[in-house]
Amino acid sequence: MNTEAATLSPARIALVGNPNSGKTALFNALTGSRQKVANYAGVTVERKEGVLTTPGGRTLRLLDLPGTYSLRARSPDEVVTRDAILGRLAGEAAPDVLICVADATNLRLVLRLALELKQVGRPFVLALNMFDIAQRQGLRIDLDLLAREVGAPIVTTVATRKRGLDELIAKAEMLTVTHSGGGANVWREPDAAEIRSAHAEAQRIFRVCVKPPERPDTITGKIDDVLLNPAAGLLILATLLFVMFQAVFTWATPAMDLIDGGFAALAGWVGAYLPQGLLGSFIADGLIAGVGSVLVFLPQILILFFFILLLEDSGYMARAAFLMDKIMGGAGLHGRAFIPLLSSFACAIPGIMSTRVIDNRHDRLTTILVAPLMTCSARIPVYTLIIGAFIPQTTVWGFLSLQGLVMFGLYASGIVSALLVSFVIRKLFWRGTVEPFMMELPTYRWPEPRNVLLNLWARAKIFITRAGKIILPLMVLIWVLATFPYPPEGATGPAIDYSFAGILGGWIEPLLRPIGFNWQMSIALIPGMAAREVAVATLGTVYAVSDPDGTATALSATLSSQWSLASALSFLAWYVFAPQCAPTLAVVKRETNSWLWPTVMFVYMVALAYLAAFATYHIAVAMGAG
């Protein structure tokens, strides 16, 4: 083969390994911000690819595959890993070289995976990651012997300190040329006896190559004694979630004020320099006010994701699933549903996608159906606005903010209703057994700041692009609807009453009047179907445009003077349940490959929303808040 040509052409390398092996940290360390997240063709598993350039100037394309214990795929995620390695994925060539990432302190299970990889016939490098921890524990690994036994070159790495990366890349690149260790693919799905004999072989290799640690990790055990204590563990989990939501509120305020002030100043500046009239109104009221009212919630969304990433990276998330399994099982949900449902607090879309780790169909569908009841970050703008306008900024019991408490209550009603709905689904429709629950509890680690920041940056990018691509055009549409047609000569009411927006709002209003909605609220629901937070921007636009003096009053001040408390609470109740998110419904369609489930979801959520808002409104009115 022509060595020179092989050196010049870009090579494809795939990272494979057990969950919690630090595979993604290694991927981040190797590619930095030069990565692209997309979906595999035809399936919705996230495809993470990054690019790096070797010292020799060669381009390497790195693929980060979902973590797995075996090539015997059980969930859609693991199917992707298997098919990518075997080169069976549509539109994807098999990788030239594999990097098998192992947690150096936990080699047994990955050695069996490595033996499976050997059968695939692709050359691979075994990366012993987190080697510094192994050294600290006094774990002695005979690297030369291990390399001979496994039949693959070995590199020790510390992804978080970027140690061993150059050597890893050099070895992997060399394999793309020499193909040493490669051969025919003889892999097929192993049966129980074959897994046993592979285990025995892995165990033998482990015994001859690894001396047990002199100072084994005892910290994880000590932490677990507290965090997995039956009673205290649940209390700590509840406290953690509570602190998380309080933080979302209090920490974000300065940054939000800054963004808010920035956009107000920008709108003022534009207003002063542009001629009064259509263009000025379009830019100040349509574009700037619309985008500003959504971007202002970026700090809160980032704080929420920050907590979720910390919990994931530290190893706590699996403990949370352990603690919650029985409670969720009582509601007919699988313990594994905890992570999709927790992700749904940020956004139901990644949450619904991550249900792919649940392979039982009924377990998975139940989780998908209730995931949107978790309070996603797109509801935060709506909740914040209404709470800020109607709930006084007082402190209860000396240290709790009343506003934070109401927010907690909204989150809690989302969780409780999700459990109730899944309970009903399980009792009425799908009786029967739930999927086995088996999950590794990884060693606790300090989250790596660089990793957390890279992931946070990816989230921020997604949110901002979304604000730009979906929300901005909608804002323009809303501005058009709210501006045209002009009121007739001699009209007495505000101009917006005569616009398309006013007409449309007037049509739905009778339907929503029983739950206390006025036409501005009614119209906010229509573009709010695109994304929940758009409702805030719509209210901003609708009220800014209808402001007779043209002065920019704070939206919350406007609302508190225009809405009754009962209407505001009813609006909140609506938003706990309503399926105000077309992208979620689209994802459900894609994940279930049927229109049936998005339809079921839409109908049951609208019904719940209407009932909840109706009850809330009438109770509040009866209590004198009308």
């Binding site: 214990y69 352990f322 399994d325 029985k326 057994t433 086995p436 629950f437």
Partner: protein, 109 residues
């Protein structure tokens, strides 16, 4: 007898054997031993085939000869349990633990 016995099905109890060999589903926190048998049969209705459950257990490290220790128990019905299998910590329900037989060290109360 441990109070755990009251919680388990008659089939689990039937699996309880002499010579300290018992189903993992009966174990209490602190129990240690060596896995002597892994099957896919739990004695309850499972949503996956017995052969599939057996392979999953094996892949997570539940294999004959592995050292096992029960580290933690959940609050409700002492379920699920967290165990150490050799060097790996794994959480699983008592139900699925029914497919694993362990020879426990010493005399179990």
């Amino acid at each position: 007898m441990s109070d755990g016995l009251a919680l388990v099905s008659s089939l689990d109890a039937a699996l309880a054997d002499t010579a300290g060999e018992r189903s993992l589903s009966l174990a209490s926190r602190g129990d240690r031993g060596v896995i002597v048998k892994v099957t896919g049969v739990t004695g309850a209705d499972e949503s996956v085939a017995t052969d599939e459950l057996e392979r999953r257990l094996l892949e997570m490290g539940f294999v004959e000869g592995a050292r096992i220790e029960v580290l933690h128990e959940g609050l409700f019905g002492r379920d699920p349990i967290a165990v150490r299998v050799d060097d790996t910590r794994v959480a699983l329900r008592r139900r699925e633990a029914g497919a694993v037989t362990v020879k426990f060290d010493g005399i179990q109360s």
